[in-house]
Symmetry: C2
Subunit: 573 residues, 2 copies
Amino acid sequence: MIWRVNLTTGTITQEPVPPEWQGLGGRALTSAIVAAEVPPLADPLGPANKLVFAPGLLGGTTASSSGRLSVGGKSPLTGGIKESNVGGSPGAKLARLGITALIIEGQAAKGQWFVLEVTPKGLGLLDAKDLAGCKIYETVARLRAGRNRHTAVIAIGPAGEMRLSAAAIGVTDIDGIPARHAARGGLAAVMGAKGLKAIVIDDAGSEPVPLADAELFRRTARRFAQALREHPSTGKSLPIYGTSVLVNVINELGGLPTRNFRSGKFEEAERISGEALHDLIVARGGKTTHPCMAGCVIRCSNVFLNAKGEEQTRGFEYESIVMMGANCGIGDLDVLARMNRLCDEYGLDTIEIGNTLAVAMEAGLAEFGDGEKAIALIKEIGAGTPLGRILGHGAAVTGRVFSVSRVPVVKGQGLPAYDPRALKGTGVTFATSPMGADHTAGNALPGTVLPGVGKLDTKQREHQVELSRYLQELALIFDSVGLCWFTRGPILADNSLLLDLLKGRFGREFSMDDLWAMSRETLRRELAFNRAAGFGPQDDRLPDFFLTEPLPPYGLIFDISEDELQETLAGLG
Amino acid sequence: MIWRVNLTTGTITQEPVPPEWQGLGGRALTSAIVAAEVPPLADPLGPANKLVFAPGLLGGTTASSSGRLSVGGKSPLTGGIKESNVGGSPGAKLARLGITALIIEGQAAKGQWFVLEVTPKGLGLLDAKDLAGCKIYETVARLRAGRNRHTAVIAIGPAGEMRLSAAAIGVTDIDGIPARHAARGGLAAVMGAKGLKAIVIDDAGSEPVPLADAELFRRTARRFAQALREHPSTGKSLPIYGTSVLVNVINELGGLPTRNFRSGKFEEAERISGEALHDLIVARGGKTTHPCMAGCVIRCSNVFLNAKGEEQTRGFEYESIVMMGANCGIGDLDVLARMNRLCDEYGLDTIEIGNTLAVAMEAGLAEFGDGEKAIALIKEIGAGTPLGRILGHGAAVTGRVFSVSRVPVVKGQGLPAYDPRALKGTGVTFATSPMGADHTAGNALPGTVLPGVGKLDTKQREHQVELSRYLQELALIFDSVGLCWFTRGPILADNSLLLDLLKGRFGREFSMDDLWAMSRETLRRELAFNRAAGFGPQDDRLPDFFLTEPLPPYGLIFDISEDELQETLAGLG
């Protein structure tokens, strides 16, 4: 069912999935809905924008890592269409409650705040004025108190309430802790503009999702789990070291954003590496190999304790650690864990904030490497001071206000932790994705195989455009079926894993061609939305300094031409 | 001659006017140079942008009101091509020194400041570190001290040095006081980014500009002056009441921007009207009927004294008084005069600041009508605090940072003092001009005659697109010959006034067709630049609220469709 919750009128309605949206899930569905129902020129913070939550096609099943949730809308950060993808527990629960998509519409009167309650009995809006201004951990604790301990929460913090463009939507993990985020694109500001503080999801008593061929599904799910366990990435490095296993890899490559993308190697990389993080967590009795969602066999998350043995933060990831760390010249995991927790409390995108702090440092507001000052600047955001509001709107606004020219953004969105001069396929994705600079939109890591060509050196310029297009389309498939991108290794090795899961779930044959077609159609819709919102070829480029400043230590520049970039998604746009 | 001053290298060169720029002046010339030499995607605050000063074709002559100066570049406010037009004394002096255009290029090292000295002996750069941070009145006084008393100065204040997008370039008037401004589009930030604090122009000993037919020129200049004296606007209302004569007219019409464009009538309009201003100036012994440039017979400027009889401000104009006054709910000329002086000291665009303060009031930073708080907010800009930097970047940035949805800007530039719902032809110009919302780009005031159609009611929707195009092309002619737009009455009644002045000056026949062709070619260049900079049809529109919120008291909306707006400059773009 499609559920609509209108904050202007307070009405809640449900409708069957219309034919044109049947067979879509996750990003394919959120983008179809946004493209169909949001005027491209709408004010992202006005009543005409919509916020859409959709689990993937495999959401709610027992397949490993299948509970990813897509959040869509017109982004206040980029001004374009956006899908922000998150793990944690709400995705599977929405799916089990039979919710194909949840569409938040309209806008509550100024100063009014609501919580949306979702249970097997239906949906209801509760007054939430008492939660106004409340940080996310406390918001979640109060909303979960007295409820079933598996209750999931989706919530915004002060940043979303202030409608800041770098605001992230917090989502509870397997333990009910809001450590996962639909962070990119400022969709929490859209939620805040609507007056929706949180969504509480209690699926106790719900039925399992129906399986058309339960036997095929279960057999395939077991094969899939086994393949994930046997794969070197999902079976070993990710469970042990988490996503930060990439720190040493990308630093070695000379592509680790350091001091506002001035270098590709950080002299303190070892101190913030996955290996160092693992050892520190283990020494203090925290958790590695921690799942963000039930049933995930990869378990790449973690729980980080401070020196006193208290939980400081969790879901402490590569992107956060590099963008707030190396990119700000900060090499201390304890400082970074405090920054991460603050961002999670206020509800802020750590990638955007890492970029923002580095731009602020470039402007002279702090020295690179000054962690205490960085923490003080994040606190300004939480306090909503004028400086805090500037920073809370992200790197582009901060650069504009402080007249900084070196601002690493595409379509207004700060770059994730891969310098495009050293990882050129990723750079092509950053430049051309309708999502703006987004590593989840098609990340060309070392070792990625381009079918028909083979593995590319991330620093070569040949074939990167093809590789980016291939990965952009591929990532969209994963974000639409609801599987974590990390599961791609086994699935690319054996497509039947994915196709049989879909067949077992829905009872009809799926082919990879069907999925590629869905992906391309979605990209086409997203590009059309952005074009109507005013985007042109001039928006599909990296900031000049990536083209002109050689990146130390290897002297690399981003040398893929604008014409080549325009070819990336040609035929779709 | 074309002079180039490169702040990166310190080199100064001159070259003859190349064939393609011969016959161009003012805006036609600045736009031709910017379009030819500035990459459309250049950082406006980077070394690739250029700042171009060009007097009009009649600059330096004895024709009344012929000393307007065009300043061009890529705007940090709009991101597009910009021409900002200013009176005062530098235009005529540059022309008398034989300078067809002065092109400022490159960028000084950070922290370095220079003054450019322009005399009949040539041009030279002087170190100006001691002027860093200096407000404009003091900057000008120090630069004029010990020089010929007719020395003119073009200078930026702290706002330009901070590279704020609402920064204005100050220009000295007939008395050597920096009361005139090339204000729109933030070109002072470009000057600041280049490290150029001021230009000092001493033309003592220069030759008069050559006249090909001196007798024809003098005879026509006399006819022109006489016609200006006899015209009701330039002969009577402007000299007596100044530009603020419009306050009552536009208020009566219901188009006076009031409290962030929430109403078209201001209940205190009478208190800030041209009549009230005139009486207060006269009662205190200030000056009305004051010329901004030598030889002007209109003399619409003024010198405003405070209650103690001291000079408070001058060049105290309609736009400043309405946008900082009615639009902020402030009905006190003494408060507005203090605000005006502060803007002139810091070097700020009063139109942009009026819009910005109103948006800040909408965000709750001050109450509408609170003049002392408004003054305090302007002082924040001068002090360069985080709040000041937000405000100093104008209404769009302020609206973004404080998440305000009702932000009256087009292409990032705040609207001048005409509500487009009541003055629809002006609204079409605001929406479609390559300059962004700019009243100097084609202002359809009550009583304007559209050739072949007649006078239009400013509230009717018919013919406004034609009227705007006609006025946009016409204004460009005036801004290219260097004549004040206020002289259009006599010239439209008798084209030979303009054509004979040009013939007397250059010795060849000019036709109105030649001038229209020059105007259209310039618009074409400007539109092409903007397209290459990323502008599309989506940028040629007014903010939604003008289309949806009926304007009290007459309930008007802006009902000219996007398709009609696209027709305005069709065939040029």
